[in-house]
């Protein structure tokens, strides 16, 4: 930890995820102040908050936060009278501003005007397109989804980033961990989308998410069901199917015996512990019987236990009288079961539905209900590294003395974290949060790639709807322009924050 305190190099060092692994080649000669200004600023931004609480609020704009208070002033005071004429400045600015003007400023005006016209662009419709955004159920869904995104995703990413940053401070292989978590940042959202389409595949034999869930589920719940097993459908069969259960055709008296032959199952589907079926031994007052797979390849007698036929172990069996379950038992390895101590009377033996249920196969991630949470999961996977790196840089800029002083005064680790670390980190946390909010407002690729076509209406977001309406077959560039303007309006507060902060620094 101590090496983080050694002066001006600190920010540069902390910016380096793999700092531990590679000391980093020294830069080409550079001026003393040429440490990357922005890096310096993450650190100075930290220090600033110790003496002013307002700094936290003003640092909301991500780019603006990066502007150290000191840097711009140095620049402006630095340009003396020796500077060149404004004509030279025009030459330097021209290429950039031609592009900014034609590709960004002009389109804003164009879109504003275009949004007031109809789909074809020939008829002026006033604010009808905007009215359509707030009345059409499809666009209302996109707004609702964006709202879910904005509320859920940024805070989760920030909390996870904070957790990772704090935890990695305590292990030696922090660098390796950071590289692993940070790596998705370099990968295209399309590739991330493909990655998560594979993760979220429904079949637990293909999608790793459901593979993990089902194996965890199987640890806690027995999975020995016999999906597809059923009695034969003929009048001689001693057992019949009844609303998903299997029941004996004739009532049985206590002390009697029943045979429940089942088919519809492959011999390989039986558990390895299944033994050759046999008739249950009769005992006085005991209701007993056998559940077995009544199938011998190439022959065998129907409804009779033949030599090679196996019992079905672990089948739940109920003795039912008057509609109520009087006793429950399970079959042994040879398929036999015994109800002892049943009161005299007539019973129906029933194999409840749970014996034949399909095995648990995980969640339908890409279905209409889970699709947005599933995509948010992918988003978190992509962005948690970003939050972690920013917050880790902020953490390393916190003066150790303050933490030590609190510990010496008897504060617990939690109190130190809650009362000192978090407040000192708040500007960085705010930057992460705001950056993620802007990101979630503009989210497009992940939704477009992960949501299958049939579920896209349920997963839709504003940015995707804008593309769909204008280029993806919607054919309504009036509504598309209105959606683009709507998106611009949503990010305007962040634009205002950036500008206000910059002006304050200039003052």
């Amino acid at each position: 930890m101590t090496e983080r305190l050694d002066g001006p190099q600190t920010p540069r060092g902390d910016g380096d995820v793999a700092r531990g692994a590679s000391p980093g080649p020294d830069e080409t000669p550079q001026p003393p102040t040429a440490t990357h200004p922005a890096l310096e600023d993450v650190a100075t931004g930290q220090d600033g908050t110790t003496d002013s609480t307002t700094a936290a609020a003003t640092s909301a704009g991500p780019p603006a936060l990066a502007t150290g208070p000191a840097a711009p002033k140095a620049g402006y005071s630095g340009s003396g009278n020796l500077g060149p004429s404004p004509k030279v400045a025009v030459f330097f600015l021209l290429p950039a501003f031609v592009l900014l003007g034609a590709w960004m400023v002009y389109p804003i005006i164009f879109s504003l005007v275009r949004s007031l016209y109809d789909a074809g662009g020939g008829t002026f419709v006033g604010v009808d397109n905007y009215a359509a955004i707030f009345t059409d159920s499809a666009t209302l869904t996109t707004i609702r989804n964006n709202l879910i995104w904005v509320v859920v995703a940024p805070s989760l990413v920030t909390v996870l980033g904070l957790l990772f940053a704090v935890l990695t401070e305590r292990v030696r292989w922090a660098t390796a961990f950071k590289l692993v978590v940070f790596m998705p940042m370099a990968v295209s959202l399309l590739a991330s989308g493909v990655i998560f389409r594979l993760v979220y595949e429904q079949d637990p034999d293909r999608g790793v998410a459901n593979a993990i869930i089902t194996s965890v589920h199987d640890v806690f719940a027995s999975s020995s069901g016999y999906p597809g097993a059923r009695p034969r459908e003929n009048d001689q069969a001693p057992a019949v199917a009844d609303k998903g259960t299997v029941v004996t055709r004739q009532p049985v008296q206590a002390g009697g015996q029943v045979l429940i032959p089942l088919v519809g199952l492959k011999t390989e589907a039986l558990p390895s512990g299944a033994a050759a079926a046999k008739e249950a031994s009769a005992a006085p007052g005991e209701l007993s019987g056998t559940v077995w797979l009544d199938f011998t390849p190439g022959g065998g007698t129907v409804n009779k236990i033949d030599g090679t036929e196996k019992g079905m172990p672990d089948v739940t069996v109920e003795a039912v009288a008057g509609g109520a379950v009087k006793a429950t038992t399970t079959t042994a390895a040879d398929g036999t079961f015994h109800f002892t101590g049943l009161p005299a009377g007539s019973y129906q033996v029933r194999l409840p539905q749970e014996n034949f249920a399909q095995p648990f196969s995980g969640a339908t991630w890409l279905g209409p209900t889970l699709i947005t949470p599933a995509i948010i999961g992918a988003f978190i996977w992509v962005w948690a590294g970003f939050a972690m790196v920013l917050i880790a840089a902020g953490l390393s800029a916190i003066p150790r003395d303050a933490l030590e002083a609190a510990r010496i005064d008897g504060a617990t680790e939690w109190q130190v974290f809650r009362r000192i670390t978090i407040p000192l980190l708040s500007p960085v946390l705010l930057v992460v949060l705001v950056t993620m909010i802007i990101n979630t407002l503009k989210v497009f690729d992940l939704v477009f790639i992960i949501a299958p076509g049939s579920v896209q209406p349920q997963a839709n977001v504003i940015a995707l709807e804008m593309w769909r309406v204008s280029f993806g077959g919607g054919g309504n560039q009036g509504l598309g322009s209105a959606l683009a303007i709507f998106l611009l309006v949503l990010v305007l507060p962040f634009m205002a924050i950036n500008i206000r902060r910059f002006r304050r620094e200039q003052a």
Binding site: A38, S79, M185, S188, I195, F196, L390, T435, V491
Partner: protein, 298 residues
């Protein structure tokens, strides 16, 4: 003597005991932290590993069993999907990606360095106002320009061409780039520039020989950022590239509709598309992080 040592000894023993206890607790807590982090690291590694392994298995294998079976049966891995993919003309979309990304990165660096230099070291009327415009443009969503620029490209005849895509990327990369470089330039000591100006050096010469070389770290951060942003873009390519000029992202996206039947194309394609970003990321990750810390805007 004894009355003095007795009280001083007992707190000493107390701290020692507490020290041992807290060290044991630390050790246990440290072990727990390690376990938690290992599990988390697995969560971050497994999805990408899955893509890699799926891309190396035949379609039939992928349909019949999970990719994780390769741990026990590594013999099923094969480069067949890759050779099939490269035979289908996927390579042309790879070169399109390169042809879009390289110029879009160089142009942004050049134009932004010039503008950043002007903002940092020149006096001209309206300088602050103009820089405020740049800051304001930082958060403008790409969507705002799709329809107007599509129309403009139609008029200019560059719709569906690589230059059109490049120019769009360049324009939308500029606000961040100007902001980043200008902030770097103002940190350069003014004595250096004043000395050069005193010597009567032309302004473009100062820019090219004094300031720009000093800005290498910032240019590296910006370069890798812009490179990755353009390389990984889907939306802009989706609108402005046609099938002849499409980069890998768009080529792969057009395969998504049949997802499930063409994993043998999608998985190797997606993995090929992320190899160069990953190599860049691991080689230059410190600049990447610096760029992130400098302005997390997009």
């Amino acid at each position: 003597m004894t009355t003095i040592t007795a009280p001083s000894a007992s707190p000493g023993a107390g701290t020692l005991r507490r020290g041992v206890l807290s060290r044991v607790a630390d050790r246990a807590g440290g072990g727990l932290v390690q376990v938690v982090l290992i599990v988390l690291a697995l969560f971050w590694l497994i999805p990408t590993l899955g893509l890699l392994v799926v891309s190396l298995r035949r379609d039939a294998d992928n349909n019949s069993s999970g990719w994780w079976t390769f741990f026990t049966k590594p013999a099923q891995l094969t480069f067949e999907n890759y050779s099939n993919l490269l035979a289908t003309g996927f390579t042309s979309s790879f070169w399109n990606t390169v042809a879009i990304t390289v110029p879009a990165t160089i142009l942004v660096i050049g134009f932004a360095a010039m503008a950043g230099y002007a903002f940092a070291w020149m006096e001209f009327p309206g300088r602050d106002a103009l820089f405020l415009v740049v800051i304001a443009l930082l958060v403008v969503p790409v969507q705002i320009a799709l329809i107007p620029i599509a129309k403009m490209y139609g008029t200019l005849g560059i719709f569906g061409t690589i230059p059109g895509v490049v120019l769009f990327h360049t324009a939308f990369g500029l606000p961040f780039a100007i902001f980043l470089l200008r902030n770097f330039f103002v940190g350069i000591p003014k004595e250096l520039l004043e000395a050069a100006r005193m010597d009567g050096a032309a302004e473009w010469k100062i820019f090219a020989t004094v300031v720009f070389p000093l800005a290498k770290p910032a240019v590296a951060s910006l370069g890798i950022f812009q490179f990755l942003w353009v390389w990984n873009d889907l939306l802009i390519a989706l609108v402005f590239a046609d099938t002849g000029s499409q980069p890998m992202t768009k080529a792969l996206q057009s395969q998504m509709r049949q997802f499930g039947t063409n994993v043998d194309i999608l998985a190797p394609g997606a993995f090929l598309s992320l190899i160069i970003p990953l190599v860049l990321f691991f080689s230059f990750q410190r600049y990447f992080v610096q760029g992130l810390l400098a302005g997390s805007v997009k």
